[in-house]
């Protein structure tokens, strides 16, 4: 029996892939093409602001290839966590790109759109009903966290995607999704075991990152049977090895043996990896352990202020020697100067060349012969952030220290203007599990006929 063949073109929609790899991937005759577009790695800004972390042109380029191929092979195309964070504006942004590509390429298809937004009243009610628990070392959720969030999304499992497949969708555009779900949904819908399907999805969602040499912008092909799956990178210059595939199981996870997700956990305690050809690895005994109560991960972000930064270098050894006390002095002067604004702003100094990357965790905080300094102010208003940053910058530029010879200025600025308005600052406000009665209840599907 021919295995079910799944094509994962790239690690994140918009990260791209070589034409030749994609063609080779298509030559295996995939039964489904799926791609994950999401990540929390780039930080809370993207969920909080409703913006994509991948450029529109890159996403459009990838979607053009994917839609063309899926429609010409007549196989479903599934896209998970549209727009990177999968909230309403991200979904709308990606839908618009798809419609634009369909129009330009002359493609027509039935598209399912599955939003993943969590209504605030719904989450508050869940909080009152004690259906919400922190996920990891996270503070308990408060009603204020919910009210203050700009966007709240839940990671959908397989069920809403299977629902869309049941209804004959050619293209499924999903909001926030459990990363492996867009791959596993089609396999489970076709009757393959959930454990193998999810484990294969875990590997495929990062495409060729699990290959050797690894790449986030190259294709990976999965071959699923009822008692095993195999993976092989589409690009002949890469190999899947037991080490590369097993190591990928570690990536970005807390416990590599037990991987929790919507509705249950993937259990890899008995899992076996085998090198079947030079470039292909087989995996067996990946099990799914369903849980009695179905839980979903909910994510949210809220705005906390505005950021302004400046970048400067310092080359004077005496200045560098006294840098810690100079920074304390500048902070103190800023505090005194704006004492009526206390509590409304925060000021921070990143000293590259000393401990800019690790801060207090730096085991060797010795400064080099020059240092790079990023001064950062975050305040309740854009104006206050500019005022505080400007004052700290000019104070540091002319700050006196013992043995100072360079009385014209302490800092080398590469730019004019020296200060950069970074804009709104967001933080994660929700990172919790919620128990639901129905895996579909937060994911209302709509269908549309996309016409060229």
């Amino acid at each position: 029996m021919k295995p079910l063949t799944l094509l994962s073109p790239t690690a994140i929609l918009g990260y791209g892939f070589p034409d030749s790899s994609f063609e080779r991937g298509l030559s295996f005759g995939p039964d489904v093409i799926a791609v994950d577009a999401g990540s929390t790695d780039p930080g809370p800004y993207y969920l909080g602001s409703g913006k994509s972390f991948v450029a529109r042109g890159s996403v459009k380029r990838d979607l053009t290839y994917l839609l063309r191929a899926a429609r010409s092979l007549r196989v479903p195309l599934l896209i998970g966590t549209a727009g990177g964070s999968g909230a309403k504006p991200h979904l709308e942004w990606c839908r618009e790109i798809i419609e634009e590509v369909a129009y330009e390429e002359g493609l027509s298809f039935k598209m399912a759109v599955i939003p993943a937004d969590v209504p605030k009243p719904y989450l508050k009610e869940a909080l009152w009903d004690e259906r919400v628990t922190p996920l990891g070392p996270v503070p308990a959720l408060t009603e204020a966290d919910i009210s203050d969030s700009t966007y709240l999304v839940a990671q959908m499992g397989l069920e809403p995607l299977i629902n869309a497949l049941d209804n004959g969708a050619d293209v499924i555009l999903a909001g926030r999704s459990y990363d492996p779900a867009v791959f596993a949904a089609y396999a489970v819908w076709k009757g393959y075991p959930t454990g193998l399907a999810l484990h294969l999805g875990k590997i495929l969602e990062c495409a060729a990152i699990a290959a050797l040499p690894g790449s986030g912008s190259d294709c990976m092909v999965g071959f699923l049977e009822h008692d095993q799956f195999m993976v092989e990178p589409a690009n002949a210059s890469r190999r899947a090895t037991v080490a590369s595939v097993a190591a990928h199981t570690l990536y970005e996870k807390s416990n590599p043996y037990l991987l929790p997700g919507p509705g249950g956990s993937l259990d890899l305690y008995q899992c076996q990896f085998e090198q079947v050809t030079e470039r292909r690895v087989a995996v067996r005994n990946s099990l799914f352990r369903p849980e009695d109560s179905y839980t979903l991960k909910v994510e949210g972000a809220k705005m906390v202020g505005y950021r302004v930064i400046t970048i400067a270098g310092a080359r004077d050894p005496r200045f560098i020697e006294h840098l810690d006390e100079i920074i304390e002095g500048v902070k103190e002067r800023t505090r005194e100067n704006f004492n009526w604004e206390s509590g409304k702003y925060k000021l921070m100094f990143h000293v590259y060349g000393k401990n800019g990357v690790m801060g207090d965790l730096e085991p060797d905080p010795r400064a080099g012969h020059e240092v790079g300094i990023v001064i950062e102010a975050v305040a309740e208003t854009q104006e206050l952030a500019e005022v505080v940053l400007g004052f700290a910058r000019s104070t540091m530029l002319h700050y006196g220290f013992p043995g100072r010879l360079s009385t014209a200025g302490n800092l080398a600025f590469p730019y004019s203007p020296s200060d950069f308005k970074v804009g709104e600052v967001y933080v994660y406000s929700v990172h919790h599990l919620i128990t639901v009665k129905d895996p579909n209840e937060l994911f209302p599907i709509t269908f549309e006929e996309v016409r060229s």
Binding site: G43, L135, L250, N255, P256, P363, Y428
Partner: protein, 112 residues
């Protein structure tokens, strides 16, 4: 004692979600891995000491046989992207591990 850099082929850190930082150490071969595992040369206490954090901040420390790997996950100092952030992806927090000496068992003297 042996230098970890001489035993490992991968030493990396990365966010595991916005609130956790995870360390992966993948050894060069199974023999090396088995020896490290048998001696329990890497554990929560070693990682806590190395990073100067309380041991309760190390949320898990696990040997993963299929990949010849040791994995420890710690509480992030601050949530990803919060004020004071220095490394959004958590991908450059591995440097202390590059200088780590690990227990190599009782036959150190016989080693080349």
């Amino acid at each position: 004692m042996k230098s970890l850099v001489d035993l490992a082929q991968v030493i990396r850190t990365k966010n595991a979600g916005p609130f956790e930082l995870t360390i992966d150490i993948i050894f060069k071969d199974r023999e090396t891995y088995e020896r490290i595992k048998k001696n329990n040369s890497l554990n929560a206490s070693v990682i806590a000491k190395l990073y100067g954090v309380p041991e309760e901040d190390i949320l898990s420390a696990i040997y993963f046989d299929p990949a010849c790997a040791f994995k420890a996950t710690m509480k992030r100092q601050i949530p990803c992207g919060a004020f004071g952030e220095r490394d959004i992806y958590g991908a450059q927090q591995h440097a202390p591990l590059l200088g780590l000496l690990v227990e190599w068992g009782d036959c150190d003297a016989a080693d080349p």
